[in-house]
């Protein structure tokens, strides 16, 4: 199943019941202020944020005449093009050839870091990599047990420390073990933390330094896990995490619900960090590579 099909399947339920203003505008040669209000509502509902929505509307107004003559779908195409452009990002996805390749997963509480790691472990194991999962979330109760269950499912090796242990110490041990046993991928689960907690953010910076000491230029990949249901605060989170350690990509989770994750567009635009994966369910195969075109389409459906 392609990403577009997956998303459509998830959306079918809601699409059937709610009319889509942008679809209604198809084939129209001109539109009224009320039409533009309807489009703005779609953008707002997708968590674009009021200022980005306003900019998009201005863009439509500005190009109004040209579109009016351009025939059907022009308005939709204009918006889609704009979103796809915002999502373009030339940044490279970290260091792919490092061995072991160390990947950090960071984010606020409850976005789905552990689940994402479980699914990604499956992806990389299928590619033939020897994967090690490192439970550096020593704070949340049973976080390590949860990750261990995913290690079993995906056939990855697993390393943990004692509950409440220093995450950097657990990480050091895991990296040494990975080198000794020849693991090619080390996926590091970190404790969820609110970006406003200075000491916890400093702890992340420390983990990055510790990783670099054990494995040259680690972490090679740092993925910020964002919950698609998040609102404007998503951008604030991304900024703060990027300040604590350089991000190489985003994972947008829970896209199988009705949330669109529109704030991710602003994050990509501002931080120049690409979205790499999207999460569309709780199953082991529910992690998909990101496709800008399908994502943009999804945003404009309501």
């Amino acid at each position: 199943m392609t990403i577009a099909e997956r998303l459509k399947k998830g959306l079918a339920r809601t699409r059937a019941t709610i009319e889509t203003p942008i679809d209604l505008l198809r084939g129209r040669r001109s539109w009224s202020p009320a039409d533009l209000d309807a489009v703005e509502a779609v953008l707002l509902a997708a968590d674009f944020g009021p200022s980005a929505a306003r900019r998009a509307i201005e863009l439509l107004k500005h190009n109004g005449r040209a579109i009016g003559d351009g025939g059907r779908d022009a308005m939709r195409e204009l918006l889609l093009g704009e979103i796809r452009r915002s999502l373009e990002c030339s940044a490279v996805a970290g260091d792919v050839h490092a061995c072991p390749r160390v990947s950090f997963f960071v984010g606020v509480n409850g976005t789905g870091k552990t689940t994402t790691i479980g699914k990604l472990a499956h992806v990389r194991a299928k590619e033939g990599h020897r994967v090690l999962l490192c439970a550096a979330d020593t704070f949340r109760a049973a976080a390590a047990e949860q990750l261990e269950a995913w290690a079993e499912r995906s056939g990855a090796a697993f390393h943990r420390g004692a509950a409440g242990a220093d995450p950097s110490a657990v990480l050091t041990d895991a990296l040494r073990a990975a080198r000794a046993r020849g693991h090619e991928d080390v996926l590091v689960d970190t404790a969820g933390r609110l970006h406003t907690k200075g000491n916890l953010m400093a702890e992340l910076s420390k983990m990055a330094r510790v990783a670099a000491r054990e494995v040259s230029r680690a972490p090679h990949e740092t993925l910020l896990v964002l919950d698609a249901t998040v609102g404007g605060n998503g951008l604030v989170q991304a900024r703060e995490f990027a300040r604590a350690l350089p991000l190489t990509g985003l994972v947008l989770t829970k896209l199988d619900g009705t949330a669109k994750g529109g704030v991710a567009v602003a994050v990509v635009e501002e931080l120049k960090v690409p979205i790499q994966y999207i999460g569309v369910g709780e199953g082991i195969d529910d992690l998909l590579p990101f496709e800008a075109a399908a994502f943009a389409e999804n945003l404009l459906w309501c």
């Binding site: 606020v108 509480n109 998040v230 609102g231 619900g257």
Partner: protein, 445 residues
């Protein structure tokens, strides 16, 4: 930093002063500003629309058009309406049923914080003299039940935790049996996180509700949620019938407009708020404070509480006493700085103060300055901090070297400090006022 709504409204109405009476279209301009503030805070656009309708209706009344401070008058109407949506200013309580145990069902999306909240709520009930029993019916997420069990151990809470291999329904039934036979007055039921569009799981939830006939069904919602809050809360409400909301992760810096969306669409009051990672971090919800926060008008009460948490009482009083007597030392100064830093980065502290947004304080520079001052103070010996007068040239040089600053920086700090101390000595009554303030700060809880 956000310009606060009250400043924006002042701007709108200032431009209108001297024009005599206000017209309906002047109100419209104010409403546009309010709309933007609410949207920026993630309140759902349709909730915003309805709210503004009501405000428009009330604001077109004569008292606002004639008011000398129309900005304040409009704001008051907005705040009243918002507080109303959030359930009004009442002391939250959990309803109980006639027969033991009263069942409290916690529902919500994945990752909203149900499990943690369940444990927090049990602790809160415990402290209120109740004997709650916890049960997790989450057989889907790996180690979810394990998580609740461990939280229970941390908080010395009773958790119903039979061995493997049961369905959610069975778990609830056996928990009910245990609660009845042991005599627990509350049964808190943690459920698996689920999407509101997941037909199977929503059906399971209905079955759980049937089995437990809960006296409370609480929606656990993340304060950082965006526009989707409306859909999920509405769908949960339609399927299982909510009685209240618990807002989690309120210790972040999200404006939390989702609270309004959830409350508006379900018609349920927000009862509690999760304010931190410790089990004790569950507080009754204060609509008025939340409204200030959503409107970007600062949250002084939260700042006071945070200050109260970080400043230890005895030490603060000691500082204040010495403040008054004028023998405030560099040691005290250093402690003050450390406390201030504990409140969080400077720009966040400022963002909690209404109107500080307009000060356009260069918080980055302020932060740097504060860090440098601390480095200098840290490089002094205890003796030097206590008796700045012993500071000679070679000591200053050593301090500068130790803190990575120049001797001039050290001199400047000492000079500023000496001047400040002189000023304090001059203010004899001021000391008393400060002491009163400190006491006030601590009597808040």
């Amino acid at each position: 930093m956000f310009q606060t709504l009250s400043e924006r409204l002042q701007g709108v109405f200032r431009a209108l002063r001297g024009r005599g009476t206000l017209k309906a279209q002047d109100i419209e301009q104010a409403l546009r500003e309010i709309r933007l503030a609410l949207l920026e805070a993630d309140v759902h656009f349709q909730v915003v629309k309805q709210l503004l309708e009501r405000v428009r209706h009330r604001a077109s009344g004569q008292e606002i058009l004639r008011s000398l401070t129309p900005d304040q008058a409009v704001l008051r109407v907005v705040r009243d309406e918002m507080i109303e949506i959030l359930g009004g200013e009442t002391t939250p309580r959990l309803s109980s049923s006639v027969r033991f145990p009263s069942v409290v069902l916690l529902v919500g999306l994945q990752g909203s914080g149900k499990t943690t909240t369940a444990a927090k709520l049990a602790l809160w009930l415990n402290h209120g003299g109740h004997a709650p029993l916890l049960v997790s019916t989450d057989v889907r997420r790996p180690a979810a039940r394990e998580q609740l069990k461990k939280l229970g151990e941390q908080g010395q809470l009773k958790v119903h935790h039979p061995e493997e291999g049961r369905s959610a329904q069975e778990l609830l039934r056996s928990a009910l049996t245990e609660a009845r036979s042991v005599g627990h007055d509350y049964l808190l039921v943690d459920t698996a996180g689920r999407l509101h569009v997941d037909e199977d799981l929503m059906t399971e939830l209905c079955e759980l509700k049937e089995i437990g006939s809960p006296s409370e069904t609480l929606f656990v919602g993340d304060a950082m949620t965006g526009q989707d809050a409306v859909r999920s809360a509405a769908e949960f409400h339609a399927r299982v019938g909510l009685t209240g909301i618990i807002l989690t992760k309120l210790d972040g810096d999200a404006r939390g407009g989702a609270a309004l969306s959830m409350a508006a669409v379900s018609g349920c009051p927000v009862k509690f708020a999760g304010t931190g990672e410790r089990l004790a971090d569950l507080a009754p919800f204060h609509p008025a404070r939340m409204v200030s926060r959503v409107l970007g008008m600062g949250d002084v009460l939260t700042l006071i509480e945070r200050a109260e948490e970080t400043v230890e009482r005895g030490r603060a009083e000691e500082s204040v006493r010495r403040f008054r007597k004028g023998d405030f030392t560099l040691q005290d100064y250093r402690e003050q700085l450390i406390h201030l830093r504990k409140l969080g980065p400077l720009d966040r502290v400022l963002s909690l103060i209404p109107g500080a947004g307009a000060l356009s304080v260069d918080s980055e520079a302020g932060e740097r300055e504060m860090r440098r001052a601390l480095a200098i103070l840290d490089s002094m010996t205890f003796e030097e901090r206590r008796l700045p007068s012993i500071m000679n040239g070679s000591r200053r040089k050593r301090i500068a070297r130790g803190s990575g600053t120049a001797v001039e920086d050290v001199n400047r700090l000492i000079k500023q400090f000496t001047q400040a101390r002189k000023m304090m000595k001059g203010l004899s009554g001021g000391g008393k006022a400060l002491q009163r303030m400190a006491r006030h700060l601590h009597s808040y809880r």
